[in-house]
Subunit: 142 residues, 4 copies
């Protein structure tokens, strides 16, 4: 099991400095563990849809950011990884409160990283959404 | 080939009234045709990433909205369809200008609608992204 | 956590009787648990590719069959569910020996069932493939 | 628009020689055009399911083979490409007759090739299935 090379605070500080638009001042990286990351989206009015549910694009953004966080946390701050594929299944309507992303790397190769992200909300009897995503990792110096 | 039952203006007016958050004042439904819809995202600073490219979440939101528009345009304003699956492949980095979505319904069933959306940008030598998506359609009265 | 209503032996007997082509005399349902199923594909010459790896279509067939088994195991032998979506990420090349499928239902709704399947092979340092799949469940009598 | 470097006959001859298991003596490459390939699956008893419809795994195998054919047809016979992702949406039940695959490359990059495949059957009022797939292309000598 590969160990992370950056903490949640280090990844957050790096992304806020280099990609401020990515986080949009909203998602929080709670923890980075071996091949995993946990994030929280503090849900506000702009994330909601009529009926008081969290919007699909809010979940897709959170999942994409979670994948980015878990990859950076394991390859370090220099790499410029880009999403090549994201597949999301929406499972249950969340209520109007914070949602969480549990990201897990399934593969961290030299050229491709593949992971899954479970979107959850405390109090629900199952996950809100399930995501798989692939990132392309640029060539790194030996 | 099924004909649309609403025009682009009618779908826009309906969505702006019922789901103002959906459009977020940004994407424009340009045209609805038989089993198709064409949308435009007027790209602004908040859609950009470092290097001047359009963000992935902006494209995912646009594609989801395009699917919603083409489905409503063919089943009418009463239905409450919800996304169940969205799969996106990112193909080329767009520049910092408007992007378009060409949505096409592959199937409009009683319970599920499936479509594909090509994200394009004038001047590029191929599509920016390709999306397939499924919506669940609620039971309708006979 | 929903409990299964059929055992592995009951699902196998039912499928062999009603859908003999599905199993093709090859995959074995090892166990059905709460929202889960475990299957084994005894790999033979016809599942292999040059270099001695298991073919992608063999894995896709196994994953599809695993989803079918876990759904039947939880809704009973009468329903006729059909696959509507299957998404597979190939992660590592397996060697020329048996592979396993660990299926888990993420949602078992009235109309749609969504699950994930991990394809594994003992001795590898990570999964061979990851699958998410959606089945449409026909209306059932009350 | 990139032109193919091999004909349907050349790709068929190469694959039959190097990967005889891939084709399984069944699928036929009908034509390779600019960024496209057309294949035919002569449906036999072993591809059928109860009710006389073509099995999902038969369609997934055909789509995977079609992607392989269109990529080889454009990069030549030396490369060893491997599937990294395949996403399929099943749209309509085909009858017990031949099905066709229309593959189109959306991107042919140095490291990744992405394409879509439409599975069709003459006489149906829409496609049987829609597939998107990504192949990883190994480094090639300059």
């Amino acid at each position: 099991m590969q160990q992370p090379v950056m903490t949640a605070a280090e990844v957050t500080e790096f992304l806020d400095r280099v990609f401020p638009q990515l986080r949009d001042g909203q998602s929080e990286i709670v923890e980075i563990g071996p091949m995993t990351a946990r994030l929280r989206l503090p849900v506000t009015e702009r994330n909601l849809r009529p009926g008081g549910t969290v919007s699909g694009p809010s979940m897709m953004s959170l999942a994409d950011y979670a994948m980015y966080a878990v990859i950076l946390g394991h390859i370090g701050p220099v790499a410029l990884a880009v999403t090549t594929n994201l597949n999301i299944n929406f499972l249950r309507k969340p209520g109007p409160s914070d949602i969480f992303a549990e990201a897990k790397l399934l593969k961290l190769g030299k050229r491709l990283a593949v992971g899954e992200v479970l979107i959850t909300q405390p109090g629900l009897d199952g996950p809100v959404a399930h995501v798989t995503s692939t990132y392309s990792i640029p060539p790194r110096d030996a």
